[in-house]
Symmetry: C2
Subunit: 183 residues, 2 copies
DNA sequence: GATAATATCAAACACTTTGTTCGTTATCAA
DNA sequence: TTGATAACGAACAAAGTGTTTGATATTATC
């Protein structure tokens, strides 16, 4: 990719992220992004068709980074035994989030969290599907999966809202207790 | 309140709700609401300052109706024994939601759930606080309460997304299993 | 280093939506 | 019946969107 393209792309991402920390997605205008990123109007629209696409691409960028190790680390293992690592995996994921504090905080802690959450959950589904033992079998599979994903996403949102002051290990432990996960 | 005011207010609510079933809140224009409700532009703005306020007022209207029985039915009972009714209370709440299908579906089933969810959770906090036994004590109270409220809200969202085809009793039962609630 | 390709820019553009204003008409409560 | 007021509709300024244009600057490549 052309250096110029990379440069403007990251400039736009940085600007957008900063703005997201301050105000809601809906109340951010393209003009504000342009001013913050020092990028021309037509340049912006040659990169992204709409503001929504910008958000989507930024989300996937962040998650591809955060989940890159998570999703592929154990895919070659025996499936029935892979449950053993759920606590470690969750802890690891939380540490990743903490490392990306700068990027994630703006998007998630702001009022735009719902949009970000939608993407987050998509990745979580893939993760939890690797741990069949975390799901109770006396409840419909879809219901149980939705519960795991939804409640974990809520826990993370709460954690971030609390400025991530609780240690990742503790968050993971508390969460696993609440979903009744037996090691 | 003047009959004329009531008339236009409900006309706007009805029109707005219908539009919410079809498209996202952000993509609904005031003009569309006016056309659907057969209401003049200036009339709309004499009732609601913005589109957001319209949504907010509609949400509180719905919840005040749905939770009116829920929240006050057992407040005079003995607190330590009130846990016995959680399953019934949840079931009852789900039936209420189903009765308000027409109102709730549009707001929540669409992608506009954000604001609606926020209000919903506020009411849920009050509800779950009446059932101390539903909360594990080996996990920080705030963490546990967030888990109960968040996961229940997610379950309801899922349920509505599935067109409420699962019977309320079953939803309540499955949910209580997942949070490890012992009768 | 020269060159062809192309990314960026600024400015102007048509278009949509918002929220306000105002004079007129219709409806209500008393 | 009458005074109050709600609804109407048309026009308005303001703000934002997404596109187009031609000039300028930067890049990859030869």
């Amino acid at each position: 990719m052309d250096r110029r393209q990379k440069k403007t792309r990251t400039a736009i991402f940085r600007a957008f992220n900063k703005l997201l920390e301050e105000k809601h997605f809906n109340n951010i205008t393209v003009q504000e992004i342009l001013d913050e990123a020092n990028v021309g109007r037509s340049t912006f629209y040659s990169h992204f068709e709409t503001k929504e696409e910008l958000l989507r691409e930024m989300c996937t960028d962040i998650f591809n980074h955060i989940f890159s190790h998570e999703l592929h680390s154990e895919t070659s293992h025996d499936f029935s035994l892979s449950d053993h690592g759920l606590q470690e995996k969750i802890t690891h994921l939380l540490y990743h989030l903490k490392d990306n504090k700068g990027n994630v905080l703006g998007v998630l802690s702001g009022e735009s969290g719902e949009l970000f959450m939608r993407y987050f959950k998509e990745y979580l589904i893939t993760m939890f599907e690797q741990y069949p033992k975390s799901m109770r079998k006396d409840v419909p599979r879809e219901f149980a999966l939705n519960h795991l994903v939804g409640s974990f996403a809520e826990a993370v949102k709460w954690w971030i809202g609390e400025k991530m002051k609780m240690p990742p290990e503790e968050v993971a432990e508390n969460y696993l207790k609440l979903i009744g996960y037996k090691i």
